[in-house]
């Protein structure tokens, strides 16, 4: 049973997928331009149950079970947005987005620019992503760098239920296309207090989720809780104080918040589960180097997934974990 509080600031304890579902329900209630489309999102409520109850509530014209094509889902959503709707396109797993990648990169990201602002398509594309669920090569990958590399897209990744609801509602008020990558590993594991009333977590703002003095750990998605565990270990076992920053929006990046922290601590570890080469961490490290070089006390560290395809049996070797983040932090602290 969920914990419920009453009153105008009422909250309840939800997991991330419930928070996303609650956000979709409120968005569709509040704005009849919001439609949801994707594979199995209607009668079934989505393979992760994020769209549960929407079909019954809003019917098949606003909750659309599409044929099985990512290009079709995203392309059709683009057309709907051109006409003035606010479509939410669900890609069942981020690993399967590639047939729709052309629609995202060539069309969704570029309509506003190529038309001089005459045509815009504020589509919200939701995609469960990331490893740690024994999903093997094709149910585990982290493709955020592909999208972050494309001008015109907002790329956002929540790390907890509160932010997931608030970022989703913010995305549906935003006039740009938003790629919302949802860390499915913590869809159910991440639970927290979520306000009942609609609210927005602004896109483009990072969050300092644990203040600290000696070192900055930068993470997003499921890696935020790994970073927080590492910070706790650094404090309890090594007496060092780590600040943890949840990037939340990769594009546009809140470099100001990151740089303020690193300029103060002089040391940083960047954590993500995507492969290392040209991973988003490379951009973070380069930007921090440009912004904070004269205050750095140690080389910037990266803890990332491997430059291999994503494995099945040995995924726990592939994924960054707390001991690895602690080791990188200690290297940075003793350099």
């Amino acid at each position: 049973m969920n914990d419920v509080t009453e009153g105008p600031k009422a909250t309840r304890t939800l997991n991330m997928v419930q928070a996303i579902g609650a956000a979709l329900m409120q968005a569709m209630e509040g704005d009849d331009r919001v439609v949801v489309l994707g594979e199995d999102v209607g009668k079934f409520g989505g393979v992760f149950r994020a769209t549960l109850g929407l079909y019954e509530r809003f019917g098949e014209s606003r909750v659309i079970d599409t044929p099985l094509s990512e290009a079709g889902i995203i392309g059709t959503a683009i057309g709907m947005a051109l006409y003035g709707l606010r479509p939410v396109a669900e890609i069942q797993f981020a690993d399967f987005v590639y047939p729709g990648f052309d629609q995202i990169v060539s069309e969704l990201a570029k309509y506003r620019y190529r038309s001089g602002g005459h045509f815009t398509c504020p589509v919200l594309v939701r995609m469960p992503y990331g490893g740690g669920i024994r999903g093997g090569l094709y149910h585990s990958q982290s493709p955020e760098a592909y999208f972050a590399h494309t001008a015109g897209l907002v790329v956002a990744i929540p790390s907890n239920p509160h932010d997931a609801k608030g970022m989703l509602l913010a995305a549906l008020k935003h006039d740009d296309p938003v790629i919302l990558l949802e860390p499915k590993r913590i869809y159910r594991a991440s639970r927290g207090e979520v306000p009942d009333a609609p609210y927005e977590v602004p896109l483009g703002k990072a969050a300092v989720v644990r203040p600290g003095r000696d070192l900055t750990i930068v993470a997003y998605g499921a890696m935020v809780s790994v970073a927080l565990d590492a910070a706790a270990t650094l404090e309890s076992e090594h007496g060092r104080s780590a600040e943890v920053i949840d990037v939340r929006t990769l594009v546009p990046l809140d470099l100001e918040t990151l740089a303020a922290s690193v300029n103060r601590t002089g040391r940083a570890v960047v954590v993500h589960e995507a492969p290392r080469t040209c991973g988003y961490g490379a951009e973070l490290v380069a930007s921090l180097q440009e912004t904070c070089f004269w205050r750095l006390e140690a080389p910037l560290e990266r803890v990332t997934g491997l430059d291999t395809p994503f494995p099945h049996t040995l995924e726990h070797y592939y994924l960054p974990d707390t001991p690895r983040v602690v080791s990188a932090a200690l290297r940075a602290l003793t350099a």
Partner: protein, 390 residues
């Protein structure tokens, strides 16, 4: 939605093993006679539209012809970077374009710029886009012929092939959801029918019952690849059958046929809320673009035969027989268009390029911090470029 699955709806075939027989290849709908010595004739039983419509169709086609000829020259002179003409295809362009309501949406491919003009895009906006100057509503971001304007519901195209067909599907679904009696038309060439997006767009249109017209200008060439290099299907129209959609086939050089058929199909789409597919059979008598030389890969004697079926040439005798057009009126029309084009080109060419700052506009609704930083950095490092720009 039907609750009967395809398996349940099929009866057992007792005749043994044989392939599925699809609907027969549809015949070509035609209004204007096309045989030797028949030019200007109207086939028995076919209706001819009003004088006003006849003139409108002819003038719009003649405008496209004149604009294309002028722009190809400008490209050869190095004054614009590219041009994709609709020469020989004006009937498919204008005949279908005029069958739409102002409230309908056009999602074009490369050769439908004439529809933008037909729907009210000003010649100034058209020419500014070709020059990519400071007055270009696209701010000089796209190659020529990538027009678009919200006021005339002509969606700005990308250069990608078949990508746009989904957008027509989505627009039409959104219009229905909003309760608007609006359809969308997605245009494509024959080459586009080989792209995955074509097939999925057909599937989505049919399955989601989108009030959309998917219109193929089969000009039989995708750069150097002939239509038989794309498909072994006898016609494009019969492909629609496989998706559970009605497919039509029309003589794409007969503007009265294209106009009549498209008007009929559009009315059916509005009435039933179901999609349809139209193949307009025509021929690219010119090059793919100004970067192409067709004599390297095709028999131009066939092209000559298609030039005899020129859409303007086929319609004009009918107009002359009705006293609607003659050499004097033709000369006056041509010289008027030439004058207007001359003035527009002179003005557009003299216009300043877009501002450097405009590079950073419209990437997002608001310029984000990293682009503010890049804009500042670029402002400080452009001195060596200014002399060479335009």
């Amino acid at each position: 939605m039907s609750s009967v699955s395809p398996a349940e709806s099929s009866s057992v075939d007792s005749a043994g093993i044989h392939p599925v027989v699809a609907g027969a290849a549809p015949g070509l709908y035609r209004v204007l006679a096309d045989g030797p010595g028949e030019t200007g004739g109207v086939l028995a039983g076919r209706e001819v539209p009003s004088d006003e419509t006849l003139l409108r169709l002819y003038r719009a086609m003649a405008l496209v012809r004149a604009v294309d000829e002028r722009m190809i020259t400008l490209q050869r002179q190095g004054r614009i970077s590219f041009y994709g003409a609709a020469t020989g295809q004006e009937a498919a362009v204008i005949g279908s374009g005029l069958a739409l309501e102002a409230t309908d949406w056009v999602v074009p491919a490369l050769r439908e710029g004439g529809i933008a003009l037909l729907r009210g895009l000003s010649l100034s906006d058209y020419v500014n886009q070709l020059f990519g100057n400071g007055s270009d509503i696209e701010k000089g971001r796209q190659m020529p012929c990538h027009y678009g304007h919200r006021d005339v519901r002509y969606v700005t195209l990308s250069s990608c092939i078949a990508n746009q067909l989904f957008h027509a599907v989505g627009i039409s679904l959104a219009a229905r959801l909003r309760g608007d009696d609006t359809i969308a038309v997605g245009y494509m060439g024959d080459g586009a029918t080989s792209e995955g997006d074509f097939h999925v767009a057909m599937e989505f249109a049919a399955r989601l019952r989108a009030p959309v017209l998917l219109f193929c200008q089969n000009n039989q060439w995708a750069i150097s690849t002939g239509v038989r290099g794309q498909t072994l299907a006898a016609t494009m129209a019969q492909k629609a059958h496989g998706y559970g959609m009605d497919g039509y086939r029309v003589d794409g050089n007969d503007v009265l046929a294209v106009h009549a058929l498209t008007s009929h199909v559009v009315a059916e789409i509005r009435r039933t809320g179901r999609p349809a597919f139209v193949e307009a059979l025509t021929y690219r008598v010119g090059a793919h673009s100004t970067s192409d030389d067709p004599s390297r890969y095709r028999d131009e004697s066939i092209t000559e035969r298609w030039k005899e079926r020129d859409p303007l040439r086929r319609l004009r005798p009918l107009l002359e027989a009705r006293g609607l057009w003659d050499d004097a009126r033709d000369a006056a029309f041509i010289s008027d268009v030439a004058e207007r084009l001359k003035a527009e080109v002179q003005r557009a060419e003299a216009d300043a390029p877009p501002s450097i700052d405009s590079l950073f506009d419209d990437v997002y609704a608001a310029v984000p911090p990293h682009l503010v930083a890049q804009r500042e950095a670029l402002r400080g490092s452009t001195a060596h470029l200014k002399a060479s720009s335009h």
